[in-house]
Symmetry: C2
């Protein structure tokens, strides 16, 4: 067992610390964040900070880091009030990673990284044509975190696009069928395999697999 | 392609909507959150909302839902200012899931779900003895989200415990070696396999694998 204390962390070499702290929480949700300016110039960047905030109303949160601001993302979200989150698949995850490169303002990562724009009537932000799960969100709240200059963006889900058969009978999005990837740290991409889907936990009852779990097992 | 609009979401059957919205972002970080009251009564609950907020200072965030409050977690964090996040392994993920059951206040999920408490000198909250990655945090900020009554808890990493060989040469936590699991939705547990670790992305340079990637490939 290795033990690291607080003052060792602050004394670490910068990139060692970035890799370490970024990978501490484990596997993270992986999404391409699509926006457009009021002039219709599109922007796409990969994020690993989207989180579920609540189902009623249906809310997702995400973190925007200060260095991302010059990439137009936050400005587009503020000005149009809409954005999309799209899953990442193994066939083109290297292209998704490439959207993290610092392209100049006004250059669309959809175009330079090879992504198809998909528009839905009445929704300003573009979806990723290659994705099998797309979520359209409307901005609800922006929270500035003073302690480190990051921004928490909270949006309400107003549009969901999925591949055929991806949503199970009980509403669960089957990310194995969708071929959704996950990421650890800044740069390591993974494909998960199901170990088990468990029944709702109650005190005094042994944890057990859901009845229909056989469909999902690896 | 299936398309769902906002008003269809609000009209959905409750558990269908909970399953759907909870699983939209893809795979989520999976951790056991350990706390203790000022009297030393311990508490453990499974969470899938921990996120990386920044490396300098080293900050992680997480969402605490309103119904969790009666589980003592938030009260313990407020009163002691410390908590731990611990990864979940396939050998005992069903026990980890069982911590989500509504045990009465004062009952320790460490004891009823079979987890070993591990204490570090000078740190009040217990780590999970069976985990291979443990993070000790000190409370920095609590943000109440009025829109749905949830709470964002932000803490600074002041202690890291890992199994031998889990931290790579460049600081990256190798969650394949650590056997860390991930979760989708409320109840589906997965084990990821590495597809590739990519080099830092720059405009005009083709995305490529890190040189030492061969060690990690599946």
């Amino acid at each position: 067992m290795k033990s690291i204390e607080g003052d060792e962390i602050s004394g670490m070499e910068k990139y060692y610390r970035i890799n370490l702290i970024n990978s501490l929480v484990g596997f993270k949700s992986l999404n391409l964040l699509g926006t457009a300016s009021t002039d219709g110039v599109t922007n796409l960047c990969i994020i690993s900070s989207a989180f579920h905030l609540g189902a009623s109303p249906p809310l997702l949160g995400m973190i925007i880091r200060p260095e991302r601001e010059h990439n137009d993302t936050l400005r587009n979200i503020r000005s149009t009030g809409q954005y999309t989150l799209n899953n990442v698949l193994p066939g083109w995850y290297t292209q998704a990673h490439q959207t993290s490169a610092s392209y100049p303002s006004g250059v669309s990562e959809f175009d330079v990284c090879g992504f198809k724009k998909k528009y839905i009537d009445g929704f300003k932000a573009p979806f990723v044509g290659q994705s099998t799960v797309g979520v359209g969100l409307e901005l609800r709240e922006i929270i500035d975190i003073e302690i480190n200059g990051t921004t928490i963006v909270i949006g309400e889900v107003i549009q969901i696009l999925t591949g055929d058969g991806v949503i199970s009978e009980d509403g669960f999005v089957d990310h194995t069928k969708a071929e959704t990837m996950t990421v650890a740290g800044l740069d390591s991409y993974y494909l998960p395999r199901l170990v088990g889907r468990l029944a709702y936990a109650k005190p005094g009852i042994e944890p057990h697999l859901l009845k229909d779990n056989a469909d999902y097992r690896i």
